[in-house]
Amino acid sequence: MNAIAPPLINIKNIEKPYRQQALQDPDWVRWSLIAIAVGFIFLFICLPLGLVIFQAFSKGIAAYWSALSQPDTLSALKLTLLTALITVPLNTVFGVSAAWAITRFDFKGKSILTTLIDLPFSVSPVISGLIFVLLFGAQGWFGGLLLEHDIKVIFAVPGIILATLFVTFPFVARQLIPLMQEMGNQEEEAALSLGAGGWKTFWAVTLPNIKWALLYGVLLCNARAMGEFGAVSVVSGHIRGVTNTLPLHVEVSYNDYDIIGAFAGASILAALAIVTLILKTALEWKQANR
């Protein structure tokens, strides 16, 4: 027999419903799960965010603008940016060196170091702030020494920067360690064997390979550095116009029934968060499409 008998049932027609039945949940399960997820996101993320903006503009743009241009608000914004500007580059360098040390060298206490890097994640930010008060406060270990030399750390800008550094330390390292572990060091060994020095190898081979993860880590680190409340609150002393960061300024304004001021500040933080989120999504998209 040469001719092939036509199939009794057209496979094309049965394939799709069959697949749906086999691999997908019933409609009501799907729709209720989607509804729960969307409802949750709306209720706990979109609604508060909308409310922040609504409250900030409740007395009109002029009131919003004047709240923002108050000296205290501006100085809080400046301090927040300054803190991020100092802590993010430092933690980028720390993070890269820590990831390098952990993934490229074998040494005693490596696992302890890996655990310690995560410590700021597991400790409550308030405790992180208190550590610095205990170290550098007037009654702290180095308090006397600092007082002698007239250096103020606690209730001053250095304390805020130290606390932020501590809290945001893990972000860059955490992003890099798994990636660098997975990549191994053969490419670097290849570069060395081709005559490149250590520094050149880092810039030409290591950095291009980790750059997306590094940027992602920097972004997360930056978001936290700008938004940190707990640790900074403990060491800041809430001196208006001097040691108030933006998150602290929002709280102080709110406690003073300055609703417009509080929400105007909050709207800037929210805007920073949204910009970070967009950049993060763009990075992820770029990474996936490489």
């Binding site: 053969q186 490419e187 060994e189 290849a190 570069a191 060395l192 064997s193 081709l194 005559g195 490149a196 020095g197 050149k200 030409a204 081979v205 291009p208 390979n209």
Partner: protein, 367 residues
């Protein structure tokens, strides 16, 4: 173009000035914690050789290669290149080409940039101009027959192509020694066969002292001009493939290189072997290693040889591997293997279960 074709006729001497060098390793001992990876290894490799470091996994062969390259600290002992002590020299100054098992191509660079890397990182004084670099890179890519892939990224290449790019990259800096770590380990069997032949030809053409690591004895025998057999961090034997095969220095080498039938002599086996016509006067030890092709098979007519029963056979291309059963001491059966050309086996017209007589031409004796 595929690997295995003859190399293009470009005149490599215009592009490469590879000065081949000899390698001397003296008394190298390397420990990882309590594990001794290399145990007083001394080895001399004359210039221009293509040497295989052969051994089972964990024998220290890759460690030895990495020590020569400077990717691993030497521990104890010295490494000499052309009689110059380079033990304390940094890997980037040794002028050694290293090809990694998993290629280690720079994934964010094109094929061209990968090959150009070694030239571009040279100190400014000795760095060629970009046009010179481009010329050389294209010549190298032609040498490995992959110039048409110059603007691709490594993840767009097949395994065999990546391996050849890695080789071109290593050759770009005109290394005095080329080191290859399991160069064919991650490739398909057919690609591997092609690349072996190709590497041999390339070495013939460039004549750079080369060492490659492998655990595949067939690969070592086929490609290398010298084979170094390693086991437990020690060198068991060094020699040409035929020396190693025909005169194994000890039982380990004999077992590792090719298949072998092992007889630990008791009275019973001794009698049986004597009946096979094996000459015992040359014996030096108690254990006889007999290569499958040193066993001749005849249909049993007059019980003139050592008696055995034909159990089964397998086709290995031109050869047939024959599985034989012989009566061992106290009635237990022992299996041994013989090999012979296909047509010879056909002429014997044997069936499974036939009684056969064996004649054994020669054996290697070990203690």
């Amino acid at each position: 173009m595929e690997a295995g074709q003859p190399l293009t006729g470009i005149d490599n001497h215009l592009i490469f000035e590879i000065s081949s060098m000899s390698i001397l390793l003296s008394n190298i001992t390397k420990k990882f914690g309590t594990f001794t990876a290399l145990d007083h290894v001394s080895l001399e490799i004359p210039e221009g050789e293509l040497v295989a470091l052969l051994g089972p996994s964990g024998c220290g062969k890759t460690t030895l290669l990495r020590i020569i390259a400077g990717l691993e600290h030497t521990g104890e002992g010295r490494v000499l290149l052309n009689r110059k002590d380079i033990t304390d020299q940094d890997v980037s100054h040794r002028g050694i080409g290293f090809v990694f098992q998993h290629y280690a191509l720079f994934r964010h660079m094109t094929v061209f940039d990968n090959v150009a890397f070694g030239l571009r990182v040279k100190p400014r004084r000795s760095r060629p101009t970009e046009t010179e670099i481009a010329k050389k890179v294209h010549a190298l890519l032609e040498l490995v027959q992959l110039d048409w892939l110059h603007d691709r990224f490594p993840d767009q290449l097949s395994g065999g192509q990546r391996q050849r790019i890695a080789l071109a990259r290593a050759l770009a800096v005109e290394p005095s020694v080329l080191l290859l770590d399991e160069p064919f380990g991650a490739l398909d069997a057919s690609v591997r066969k092609d690349l072996r032949q190709w590497l041999r030809n390339l070495h013939h053409e460039l004549n750079v002292t080369s060492i490659f690591v492998t655990h595949d004895q067939e690969e070592a025998m086929e490609v290398a001009s010298q084979v170094v057999v390693l086991n437990h961090g020690r060198i068991e034997q060094q020699g040409s493939p035929s020396e190693i095969y025909d005169h194994p220095a000890n039982a380990f080498v004999s077992r590792f290189i090719g298949q072998t039938n092992v007889f630990e002599l008791d009275e019973h086996d001794s009698e049986w072997l004597q009946s096979s016509g094996l000459i015992f006067t040359a014996r030096e030890g108690k254990v006889a290693h007999i290569r499958p092709h040193d066993i001749e098979i005849e249909k049993s007519i007059d019980n003139s040889g050592a008696a055995a029963t034909l159990k089964d056979w397998q086709h290995l291309g031109a050869l047939i591997r024959i599985e034989l059963i012989k009566n061992g001491f106290n009635g237990s059966d022992a299996t041994l293997y013989a090999e012979m050309p296909n047509d010879q086996f056909k002429r014997l017209q044997l069936n499974k279960g036939d009684k056969v007589d064996l004649r054994i031409r020669q054996a290697h004796w070990f203690h």
